[in-house]
Every structure is written in C-alpha cells, then in structure tokens.
Symmetry: C2
Subunit: 290 residues, 2 copies
Amino acid sequence: MAEILRGKPVLEYMRPQLQKDVCELKSNGITPVLAIVRVGDRGDDMAYEHSVVSHCDTIGVGIKKYTYSEDVKQDELIAGIRTINNDGSVHGTLIFRPLPPQFDDNAVCGILAPQKDVDGITKSSLAGVFTDSTVGYAPCTAQACMEILDYYGIDPRGKNVTIIGRSLVVGKPLSMMLLKRHATVTICHTKTKDISSLCREAEIVIVAAGHANIADKNYFSPGQVVIDVGINVGADGKLCGDVNFRDAENIVSRITPVPGGVGTVTTAVLIKHVVEAAKQASINKIQGKF
Amino acid sequence: MAEILRGKPVLEYMRPQLQKDVCELKSNGITPVLAIVRVGDRGDDMAYEHSVVSHCDTIGVGIKKYTYSEDVKQDELIAGIRTINNDGSVHGTLIFRPLPPQFDDNAVCGILAPQKDVDGITKSSLAGVFTDSTVGYAPCTAQACMEILDYYGIDPRGKNVTIIGRSLVVGKPLSMMLLKRHATVTICHTKTKDISSLCREAEIVIVAAGHANIADKNYFSPGQVVIDVGINVGADGKLCGDVNFRDAENIVSRITPVPGGVGTVTTAVLIKHVVEAAKQASINKIQGKF
C-alpha cells in the first residue's frame, strides 16, 4: 500500500512561519489583508471561501469581502477591483473563477494590480512563471504541488514527470516550475494518444484533468509518486480526485489523497502569498515607493 | 534516405505574400521599417544581419541601424532603444543578443515597446505565447519551426513531440506553440536522464541544444520528423546543426538541414512580424490610437 502524502502536515509546517511573519508585520503596524471577490454563491466557491477565511483567522490575516449578485454589471465588478488596487490596506486579492459567462474574464482579471495578484491570474504573474522572474505570484494550486514535493523530500531534479492537463491554473505553470527544478516534463491532454502509457513510464505523475477517477490502474506503475490535483463530486456524492485512489494506492509508492491533499496546501500557499505581498508593500513603504 | 525539409521553399512560399502586404502598406503611405540594434561586431551577428538586410531589401522593408561599439554605456544603449520606441517610422526592432557581459539583459530588453518586439524577447511577448493571447510576437526561431511543419503538411495534433532545450528563445515558447496545436510535448535538457530514449520514442524531435552533432544515431528511429535548430561551427570549420545529419538521414523520414533549414525561415518570420507590426500601426493610426 502506498504512503499517503497528506496536505495537513505541510500546512502545519508552513503555518508557524506564516504566524511569525504576520506577528512581525503587525509589530511594524501592518496587518496583511486579503480581498475576496465573489460573484454569486456557488457551493464550491463558498466552501473554498470558508476554508480561506478560517485559515486567515488562524494565521492573523485580515479579510475584506467584495461579494456581488450573479447579475452584477461588468463595469461594477471592474470598479470594485480598481477600488482594491487603490486600497493600501489590501495586499492580495482572490477572485473566484470561472466568472459567470456574461463576463469577459480577461477584461476583468486584467485590471488586477500584479502586485496584489496572489493567485497568479494576470498575464504579468504568468509571464513571471514562464520567464522565471519575480513578477507577481504563481497560481496557488500549481505551487501547492511543489510545496508537497518539497515537504516530503521528493526532489524533481532529473526525474521524468508526466502532467495531465495544460491549463493556465495548473498544467502550464507547474510544467515551468518543474523545469526550473530540472525535471524532464511531459505535458498530456485530451488530444494525447495513449496517456496511460506516458503516465506509467513517469516517476512522478501529476493529474489535473478535471474528471473524476479518470486515471485508473492502467496509468500507474510501482515506485511512482502521484499528485492528484482534481476535486470532483463522485457518483456517490462524495468528494474525489481525478485519480481512482483505490486502484492507485495498490500500485504506486506515494500518493496525495482527495480531499486532504493538494487542496489543503493551496489555501496555505494563498496566505503565504498575501504575507509576502504585505512584506513587499512594507519594504516599498520604507523605500518611499507606492 | 530521409526527405530533406529545406527552408528555401518555405521562404519562397512566404515571400510573395509579404511583398504583396508591403505593396499595399506602401500604397497607404507606410513603409515597414525594422530597426537593428547591434553592440560590437561578432561574426555570427554580422552574418545574420547581412541576411536580414538582404531579405528586407528583396521584400521592400526598410532598415534603420543602431550600431554601438563594445564599450558603449548601458544608459546610451537604453536611450537608443527609447528613441526607437518613440520613432513612429519604425515598426519592429531586432536586438542582437547575447549582449556583451557588462549589460543587464533584462534592463535593456525590458525597455523595448512590446508592439515593436518582433523577436519575442520582452516579458509581454513571452506572456502572450504562454497564455495564448495576442500580445507581442513569438520568438522568430520557435515560430520558424512551426512554419516548416505547416509548409510540409506535418500536423502536430496528437503527435508525441520531444524537444531538447528549455530556453526562452526556442524550447519553452515552442513547447507552448505545439501544445496550442494539440501536440503532446516532452521537454528535455542537460539534467534529463536518457534523452536518447525519449527522442527515439517521439514522432517529431526538435533539437535546440546548442551543441554540435549532439544527437547521434541513438536518438532516432524510423518514421520520425527531425527539426534541427542548432547552428554551430563544426570541427571542420563548416556550419553544422545539433543533429549528426549523416546518422539521422539514414534512419528518419524527414529532416531539416543546417545550413538551409530553420535559420533560413527565421529571417522570413522576422520580416513577417515587422510587416504585421506595420499593419497594426496602420490600423491604430486610422483608429487614432498611438
């Protein structure tokens, strides 16, 4: 049976450092604050918001909520984001996506100031990930995968990694982060022939396909590390990942569970980014920059 | 013996359309102009410049040269690029790189206006390639590989492509361009274990390693398409690619030569970008944008 790579120990490892950082910032008169922008009240958004708020409370990060009804006009939403950009007391912003279909996602998210883009949704942040520079922040889910590998001592250097999924939220940025750490990366997707074989041949498999239980026993081989990024509601009404966990845990060496794996760490990464943004704002304040 | 995928027919296919576009622009009072920024007089820069100028002449694109001695101050170079940014008669800029070691490459290249960045060196252009949006232009060498595949009817969709090299000039942007076209992409580099086997298993192999003849007979298998991006001076003093051509041509189905392959098309792509930038400037002029 595989070793379960739970997110909770990673979170518990990250939390004291974050609390210490927040304490220092507060002693300098700065409380890190996250703005949450939510349109409508979808169940999964509400669940993630509840988790974010709860963790922010524990760590000492403040919250400002900007919630809108489903029928809000795009201009009003954009005005809200401009207000956040100009609000010196806010250091990071989480915009729940996907936005309802009447919105132009690029137009809305493009407004967000890169230095407050703690979830890596702007072109500036993504350019930073692609070019390996320090502009903006990486998408939290992608970075959560890296935090899990690091915490459990799994060095991607020289390893063959297969990623299923080519989104800008996980697949593409994570492939760049793994390349930076000297992994050999194969990116698969819906048009890939024989995904299962490309997964079986890898040493680390990262599944971000967005389909419940899509990776079954044919995808895995002994000795592998499996990171399951998916969060789906299974046929039994329970949360499940993109990996058929029962199949995989009998084959591979180490695997993240769903729930309790990547998602748990994603929230900690979001808060880490808010704290980093607050530190940067503090440095800029001392240096007289705005 | 493999079919040789020469660059010349691709160039000859692209040229009449470019000439037609330039003719139309000139009838509207606009001559597309490329600014060339060169520090020092390295042999390979001079050879490429000669080729660019000659092709620009043939197609009707103007040239403005900004040449500096090796000991130019960084501020002076930056001032030159600012002049180009503000010069409405210039539509695209080629900055020869690498710059001599005393320059901060990011600081110099970051100055260039994205709309004149016809060789994809700014973060904005690279963000455009990464996020699949229309900001800036892709690096010319990476796009030249795509032009060759397209011209010879090689559709990357669903194919397994192995790329050797993870640079921002070729490997990374090309992997994103191939993903967009639905290829399955594996990115290899100096820390990859068993590169030769990852190449043998691919249907398309793209070699951008920057080392003469590094890919020998162990890297290839029958039926493959091989794109050789390397331009090196071999032990015999002649130009050669990253692929051992004699080895490969006896094994694979189709292969680009060096010289006369990717490099030949790169110049055409650069001019295509200048023409596109001039068209865009013309549209902006009509719409009253600057």
